[in-house]
């Protein structure tokens, strides 16, 4: 299969009301759009309340994801319940989208054992705090499911800084060689804590790195839940069809403090 250069233009569905008109996503009903909105509101509310909870000293630490909601909602809405999610600490509340109780996630931030869960209960892996080390886990699970003849996919969420880590390279390379059905979802918010993207990589785009693994790389507006959904759905379909992983670079801006 020929390896094409990564897409560099940002995919968008939601227009800006001026030069870029609104687009459409095939297969989404009005109920789907309402559900996407409900999930966006849920994550934003969780995030805002958790920041306050942290500032009150009731949890020891907290990773804000303000502005990441559309990536998490759109990316997971393209999955089936049997598909596995591998979150980083920036996606701490993603289990809520699978019905996990808020108390479980909040207990995790409190360092309480009630915050541990059986990943198989929700098909949500443990929140990964080390940078990028869950990428090989996701690749391995996806490959294992493929070997068993199951149609399950996996998605790994990570930040722009993770693309400089060895674990990201190992996981992406392994997934590509084994044609593992995994979506490598990079939430590029331009900042790895305090390191700007310009000091992170010499690549013009993070999606360009996909070419080195022989897989498709796409860029999408990370604030456009519909574009994220559509790009992830395509990636999942590729995975289920035996065509291996896709690297999605969802571009946003880290406008909240780390």
């Amino acid at each position: 299969m020929a390896v094409l250069p990564a897409e560099r233009d940002l995919r968008r569905v939601i227009g800006d009301g001026e030069g870029v008109p609104d687009g459409e996503v095939e297969g989404l009903s009005q109920d789907d759009l309402l559900e996407l909105h409900r999930r966006l509101v849920l994550l934003r509310t969780y995030d805002e309340r958790s920041v306050v909870y942290h500032r009150q000293g009731r949890i020891g630490t907290y990773a804000i994801f303000w502005g990441h909601e559309a990536m998490q909602v759109g990316g997971t809405y393209a999955l089936e319940d049997a598909d596995w999610i591998f979150p980083s600490y920036r996606e701490s509340a993603i289990g809520l989208l699978r019905g996990m109780p808020a108390s479980t996630v909040l207990s995790w931030w409190r360092g309480h054992p009630a915050g541990w869960w059986n990943p198989a209960d929700w098909n949500v892996a443990s929140i990964c705090v080390p940078i990028g080390t869950h990428v090989p886990h996701a690749a391995g699970l996806a490959w294992g499911k493929k070997l068993r003849g199951e149609r399950t996919c996996a998605i790994a969420f990570f930040g722009d800084g993770a693309t400089s880590e060895g674990a990201f390279h190992e996981g992406a390379n392994f997934a590509a060689v084994m044609r593992a059905p995994v979506v490598l979802f990079c939430n590029n918010n331009q900042w790895a804590i305090s390191t700007p993207l310009s000091a992170q990589t010499a690549a013009e785009t993070l999606a360009d790195k996909a070419a080195g693994y022989g897989i498709p790389g796409v860029r999408v507006d990370g604030g456009d839940v519909l574009a994220v959904y559509e790009a992830t759905r395509e990636a999942v379909e590729r995975g289920r069809a035996g065509e291996g992983p896709t690297l999605i670079e969802a571009v946003t801006y880290g406008s909240a403090s780390a």
Binding site: H37, R38, V41, L42, R44, T45, Y46, R49, Y53, R58, P101, A102, S103, V105, L106, S107, R110, H112, P113, A114, G115
Partner: protein, 52 residues
């Protein structure tokens, strides 16, 4: 929608804070294949310090 999410958070915070304190042994029980000889005494000392 916003009110529902806020209520979910209030309920979640209340439930999380209602959890009884964890047994400090949990921190160590999975850490050692072969606990050191002083483990039981050290744990008893930790519990004494924590007031448990």
């Amino acid at each position: 929608m916003r009110a529902d999410a806020a209520q979910l958070m209030r309920d979640g915070i209340a439930a999380a804070e209602a959890e009884p304190p964890a047994d400090p042994e949990l921190l160590f029980s999975h850490a050692f294949a072969d606990p050191p000889a002083s483990f039981d005494a050290d744990l008893a000392e930790l519990r004494r310090v924590l007031g448990g």
